[in-house]
Each structure stands twice: as C-alpha cells, then as structure tokens.
C-alpha cells in the first residue's frame, strides 16, 4: 500500500479538440503540502475538479485517500475539504448562517465547529454582515472556513489567496502551514504565484499547457537550481585558456563576450583572480550566484515566466 493521499495516473481531460490536461501523474504524500504551480489556464483547476470527481475524466485514473472516487463519493467526500475557484455562498445570509447550512448538510457533530472554523480564518462568529456585503478577501476566508469546517484529512485549495491583501495572504499561508504541521493535514494547493508556492509547499508540481513538467520536493528543486560563480573578465578566450590549463576546469559556460559561469563553487577564487590578473586579464567582478525558482520555471516552461 502506498502512502499517497492523491495519486493520478495518466490523467487526461479533452474538451472538444482542446487538451486541457494531458497524461498527468500526480503524487500527493500524506501530511505534506503539495503546491501545483502554473500560469492561469495551465490546467490546475481542471486537475482539481477531476480529482474531486466534479468533471468526468477523459482517460486515466484518480485515487483519493486510497480509493477511486467514482461511486465512493459518500465515503470520500466527508474526508475532504475543498475550495474550487471563487467560493460561492448565499448572499442573503451571514457568514455564520452560511456555514451553519453546510454544517447541517454535512452532519457536523462537533459543537462549536462553525465558531472554530470562523476563528481560524479570522472572521467574526454570529456577525450580522450579510455575505453579499463581504469583500473578496472575506469571501475567500469564508470559503476556507467552509473547507475546514468538518476537520477533513485532505484539503484541496484552488488559489486560496486570490483577492487577499498582502497581510491576508501571509495569515492564510500561516494557517495553511499550521494545518499541515500541527494537525497533520494533507494539502493540495494550486497557485499561479510562484513565491506563494515556494514559501508554503513541501512538494511541487509544475504544470504548463496541461502537462506536468516537473514533480519533486522543494528540497530537490532547490538542489537542482545550481549554484555558480559569475565571472566577468575583459578577455574571454584568454580567461578560458587559463582556467582550462592552469585549473583543469571543464565545467563552465560562456554567457557573453565578458561573462563566464563556473559551476564548481569550491574553486579558490583568490587563486583564479590572481592567475587572471597576472596574465593581463582584467577581472571586472566575481560573485557566487544561484538560479531562482523563477529562473528554473522559465527554463522548464520554455522561457515564459510566472508572477
């Protein structure tokens, strides 16, 4: 038995002639936060909808909490909390009344469940403000409160920080992190904001045009983003010759007429600078650099960036 809470195998969704999701193999481990990162329209929401069984799958399989969700909805759904797109509620009711409806429908037995859920997201209990008067941020918070109302094992959150102000984003990030660290919840979260995912996720899946380009832990991803020494010199051919002959260096690349990247970061830069200067090569600058996650994203998506 594997320890994946969500596992998809060759998950594909085709609308007419357009392939929205193509052969996605997703692996969400128990107790971890999995960040699904991709630009708008990359297929994140479609994947989440298929995982939840909200839209039919064209081909492939989805296992959620060890079961194929199709036909097992009554067993699986009570163990899941989800926000898909912008959460909608009854505009004529208050936040508390809205959650009371969902608590009743779910048969939530825990006393103060509504009060606790609202407290977690920082919304007032028994407030008189109607949902129709809520700001986008408050609506989003209420959506999250609804998702955690029944204390589910698995949370599927589609862009939960949409519409929140920077302080709100930080608060939501903190309590999502807490849900995972303190309560052991498994969380699948999607976002098009790279910094959000990098601050929150333990594992990351990068999706572009419906294809899962990369799936790895944040730790592995950080390792992949190689460190290097950026060396700017006056004469590249001469500098290359010195590096190869004197330091037996092969692992480097020429960036432009004056810039070299040396990938062996254990090199003694003092010695290199000295050798270059002695042989009349001016060293303009030398610095230790690291590719950012955004650089990596650009690289694997073929050059296009993300927010």
């Amino acid at each position: 038995m594997n320890d994946f809470v969500i596992e998809t195998k060759q998950l594909t969704k085709i609308y007419g002639e357009q392939t929205a999701v193509s052969s996605v193999n997703l692996h969400v481990k128990k107790g971890r936060i999995y960040g699904l990162l991709g630009r708008n329209g990359a297929g994140k929401t479609t994947i989440m909808k298929m995982i939840l069984g909200l839209i039919p799958i064209t081909s492939g399989e989805v296992d959620v909490l060890g079961r194929n969700i199709k036909g097992q909805e009554k067993r699986v759904y009570p163990r899941i909390g989800a926000i898909i797109e912008t959460p909608g509620f009854y505009p004529n009711l208050t936040g508390t009344e809205n959650l009371e409806i969902f608590a009743k429908l779910r048969g939530t037995a825990a006393p103060h469940a509504v009060e606790n859920a609202l407290k977690v997201v920082g919304l007032p209990y028994k407030d008189k403000k109607l949902f129709s008067k809520y700001s986008l941020g408050m609506k989003q918070r209420l959506g999250i409160a609804n998702a955690i109302l029944h204390d589910p094992e698995l949370l599927i959150l589609d862009e939960p920080t949409n519409g929140l102000d920077p302080i709100g984003i930080a608060e939501v990030r903190d309590f999502i992190k807490n849900l995972s660290v303190e309560r052991g919840k498994t969380i699948l979260i999607s976002s098009h904001i790279l910094s959000e995912i990098s601050l929150l996720a333990d594992d990351i899946g990068i999706i572009d045009h419906g294809v899962l380009l990369e799936e790895s832990s944040m730790g592995e991803l950080e390792k992949k983003n190689r460190k290097y020494i950026l060396l700017q010199v006056s004469d590249i051919p001469k500098a290359s010759l010195i590096l190869e002959r004197q330091f037996s260096l092969k692992d480097y690349s020429v960036q432009d007429d004056h810039t070299l990247r040396l990938y062996d970061t254990a090199l003694d830069m003092g010695e290199i600078n000295k050798a270059l200067v002695t042989q009349n090569v001016t060293v303009i600058s030398s610095q230790l650099c690291n590719d950012t996650l955004e650089d990596y994203f650009k690289k694997i998506t073929g050059g296009e960036g993300i927010a």
Binding site: K49, L52, L54, I55, E73, K74, Y77, P78, I80, A82, I84, E85, T86, P87, G88, F89, Y90, P91, N92, L93, E97, E100, I101, F102, K104, L105, R106, G107, L130, N146
Partner: protein, 245 residues
C-alpha cells in the same frame, strides 16, 4: 432528505419577495369582494363567491405564475453564484437537492391556497354577502388543498427549467408562457398541459360552476399527462444538474 429540506427553509431567510408573493393569494378574494359589493348582492351562494375568489384565475393563472417565480428564486442563487460544486462535494445527491426544492414549492403552494381559502371565507362572510355554512367552508378548504397539492406537481417542469438556467429571465418568461398556455389550451385539448389537466382533476365532479370542458372528463388521462411531464422534468433536472459543476 430531511436535512436538505430543513436547509432549504434556512436559505429563505431575508427573502422578502418570497413572502410578498404570498400576498397574491389575496388578489382574487379581494376582487370578488369588490365585484359583489359593486352589484350589491347579498345572500349569494357561497360557491358563486368561491368561483371568483379561489376557483378561477387564482389557480389557473396567479398560483402557477407565483410558483414559477418561486422555482426560479429557489434555483437562482445556487446557479448564479456557482455553489453547486460546493454542495456536490458535501456530498448531497442531485435528485435529493431537486426534490427538496420541490418540497418547498409544495408547502408554499398549499399555504398559498389555504390563505386564499381563509381570505375567501373572510371576504365573503364578514361583509355579509354569504351566510356562513360549515359545508361550503369545508368544500372550499378541500378543493384548495387539492389545488395546492396538484399545482406543485404541475409546476415541476418549471423547477427543472430553473435548475438548468443560470439566469432568471428565461425561467420567468417560460413561466408566463407555461401559465397562459395551460389556460388557453383548455379549449383545444385538456390533456396536453399539466395545468389544464389539473383543472380537469379539480373540477372532475362538475361541482365548480363556470368551468366548462370541451372534452369528456378523464381523470386518469389528466394524471397521466401530469406524470409524463413530471418524468420529463425529472430527467431534464438530472441531466442538467449533473452537468452543472
């Protein structure tokens, strides 16, 4: 199912229009009062008054239109605000959801006709146009309960159409057409439309004056008509709710 029905009632909080629409139950009793006052009739047959107040336009036009509006209101928020996907992952069954709405329509319809019945008695007896008789009051209540019950079933197709639409304009327009079509089609074929079939069932004993049928009364055929439309409505609702995600 009980939980679904309870939550349907909770969702009606602060829905003023739903309660204001209930006032439409007083329209025809009030017009009947004005009519009999204008002609200065005293001591009329109770059934003559009730024909005006409850057994005419109230059940053929006003009640269907009000119920159509109610169906639209009941479905509108969840469709408009994209709430269905949140409800499905609770999970709740699509048909349970649909029939809980229908139950609200049924209760509302019965209440509407009971208000009409009470108003009819008050507006006829209190000014003295009709002498109070238990027999006629019980007849009125019985018929109003029948109308309230059957009208909800006759309006099930509108509930299914409202379930299939995100907006409210089309369901309201279809409600208008549906209500008037039911009224006018009575002269052509009473067994084609649920509302005209409802009229057949209500006036099956010929005990309501003023309702004249062009065809022979066939109660099973009238029930069959309503059943066929209702089955089609349930199938439509099942398909459209399944697609709404």
């Amino acid at each position: 199912m009980l939980k679904l029905i309870q939550t349907e009632f909770l969702k009606l909080r602060r829905r003023k229009l739903v309660w204001i629409m209930m006032l439409a139950a007083l329209i025809m009793p009030f017009f009947a009062l004005l009519y009999f006052k204008y002609f200065g009739n005293v001591g009329v047959e109770p059934i003559q008054f009730y024909k005006w107040s409850a057994f005419g336009y109230t059940f053929l036009i006003i009640l269907p239109f009000v119920l159509g509006m109610l169906c639209t209101i009941l479905m509108h928020d969840e469709n408009q605000h994209d709430m269905l996907k949140q409800l499905w992952i609770v999970p709740i069954s699509k048909m349970g959801y649909f029939f809980s709405k229908f139950f609200i329509v049924l209760i509302y319809s019965i209440c509407f006709m009971l208000i009409t019945a009470v108003a009819s008695v008050m507006f006829s007896v209190l000014p003295g146009y009709v002498a109070f008789e238990w027999g006629s009051v019980i007849f009125l209540l019985k018929k109003c309960l029948e109308i309230g019950f059957i009208a909800a079933f006759a309006m099930l197709p509108i509930l299914a159409i409202a379930a299939s639409q995100k907006g409210y304009i089309l369901p309201v327009c279809i409600t208008l057409i549906y209500s008037f079509l039911g009224f006018f089609i009575m002269t052509v074929n009473m067994y084609l439309h649920p509302l005209s079939s409802m009229a057949v069932i209500i006036a099956r004993n010929g005990d309501i004056p003023g309702i004249v049928f062009t065809q022979a009364v066939n109660v099973p055929l009238a029930f069959l008509c309503i059943c066929v439309w209702n089955i089609a409505a349930v199938v439509l609702a099942n398909i459209t709710l399944g697609r709404r995600k």
